[in-house]
């Protein structure tokens, strides 16, 4: 049964749930979607999350035809996914800074996002040298996913706190 992918992240600590049998297949499907097809970053979030949990085994897919070109289908697809993720991250960032007045918090998140971006540049170098390595692609997607996720999480956190408008001091 398909379900809202956003629920996956609510249940991260319970990793005893069975690994979906087709997690890798789903991942490959996403990679093979035509460039023009709209990718939903949230679907990737779920796919990457499942892979992070499940994969102790890495693999490379070699496409003999594609290797001869500079821009292989996988490179193009990853570039497409990257662009969509970055657009979503930027949108979440704007939403986040509009939500909070805590400058220290904004500064701390900016620093974290910059660190993650530096990591991403490092992984991108690996990807340029080894663009068919699924482990490297996973690392790229995981990095983008993390940035989006921390921005979503902190906004959810702030929204819960903003609902507080009463001051209680209580002893159970």
């Amino acid at each position: 049964m398909k379900r809202d992918i956003r629920h996956i992240f609510k249940d991260e600590e319970d990793d005893l749930k069975p690994i979906p049998k087709n997690h890798r297949a789903e991942f490959l499907t996403k990679l093979r979607k035509p460039k023009s097809q709209k990718q939903n970053p949230l679907v990737w979030l779920g796919v990457a999350a499942a892979l992070v949990i499940a994969l102790t085994i890495g693999f490379n897919v070699f496409n003999s035809d594609a290797l001869e070109n500079n821009t292989t289908p996988i490179v193009a697809q990853v570039e497409n996914i990257e662009a969509e993720y970055l657009a979503s991250i930027e949108a979440e960032w704007q939403s986040f800074i509009a939500l909070t007045e805590d400058e220290k918090l904004v500064k701390r998140f900016r620093k974290k996002l910059d660190e993650l971006d530096m990591d991403y540049q490092e992984i991108s170098k690996q990807f340029k040298n080894d663009s068919n390595n699924i482990l490297v692609i996973e690392a790229l997607v995981d990095n983008l996913q993390t940035r989006l996720q921390i921005l979503k999480d902190i906004q959810k956190h702030i929204k819960i706190l903003n609902q507080n408008n009463e001051h209680h001091e209580n002893t159970f």
């Binding site: 379900r3 629920h7 996956i8 609510k10 991260e12 600590e13 319970d14 990793d15 005893l16 749930k17 069975p18 979906p20 049998k21 087709n22 997690h23 890798r24 297949a25 789903e26 490959l28 499907t29 779920g46 499942a50 102790t56 085994i57 890495g58 693999f59 490379n60 897919v61 070699f62 496409n63 003999s64 035809d65 594609a66 289908p73 918090l105 701390r108 974290k112 990591d119 390595n133 482990l135 490297v136 690392a139 921390i150 999480d153 902190i154 959810k156 956190h157 702030i158 819960i160 706190l161 609902q163 507080n164 408008n165 009463e166 001051h167 209680h168 001091e169 209580n170 002893t171 159970f172």
Partner: protein, 385 residues
Amino acid sequence: MKTLFKILVLMLITSWAANAQIHKIYNKSFDANSITTLDLNLDGVYVKIEESLDNKIHFNYTIEFDNYSKKAIEEQLEGIKTIAKIVDSKLVFETFSETPLSDVVYSIESLHGITFEGDYMTFKETSEIRWRKPKKYFYGMNDDTKVETLKEYLKDLRGLDGKGETHKIDSKNVKTLKTNFIIKIPADINLRIRSFDSHMTFKLDLTGLVNMNARNTNLKFMSLTNPLNNFDIANGKFRSNDLKGGAYKFNHVSDLKIASVDHLNIDSEFTTIIIGEVGRKVKIVDFNGKFWLNNFSKDFYNFQMDTEYSEINLFYPKDVKFYFESYGHDTAFYEGNNITNITANRKNEYSKMMTIGEEESPNTIKINAAHGIIRFGKDFIEINE
């Protein structure tokens, strides 16, 4: 007929031997009597650390290639560098792999690419209720070492033939690279570890001093009990059974699960930390983390957290009298359907927000929280958002 059978068997053995090749990367032993510290620098490595029972340090590092051409093997091997040297009483071991290694790496060769057949990804319905988990749950989980077999791996994958037709992938077209790297060490040796893009699984209880800096590394430990242990972990994963003593810094670490903590200082950010049992004198400083504290030991004495923008899910200490005290501001407390909100103040001043139990209790939980969410539960915690 008998001769024909012998020839066939011989051909089979020869054929297998030609395909599967084991290459030694590093194989050496060192007498640990004169070595106090093992200094490991690892990059792109998959390694298991086991206990040495003969007071020697053993390195046994091989890689098995199956279906690889001679050239492809050479290329892989050229990308792996290993150096060991003794400096005073320290053994320094460095290894680097251009391609990050895992336990098994499968490579599928297909002229027109691959696809899959089968259902889309499915997930179990997630519950909004989290039940308290006993300490033994974490021990079992941390020992988990499931490896996907080639058959499982290929089950839903299909090759493409260029006309859009799919066909079953022949295992002859799958190249397999297996890493078998074991380091055996005495349990009391001091360790200095720097690791990057690696996997390390410790299969022994470490009593010696461990200083570790790890980035993008998946770590699994049994117990770590030296009071001076010092860990700085960024990204990657971390699992352990018992942690007793030392300071641990976690920055955006995922899958962080610890069966028990005792006499420990944790400094964390952007990390979800799940602990089976909180023991004596544990202190946590956190920014924007999530915590699941499943239980406390009978004599946990003093547990303290200083947090900002953190989410703390705390199961009440089971069968232990305790006193809970919380200072801070802008924090929401949840217990079942009861919600207590302490709003933000302009000066961000800390004030007493909540107490539970009697102050005279020898076991105290003190949580200083700014912009926090704290949930309490006896047997379960319900997330109502």
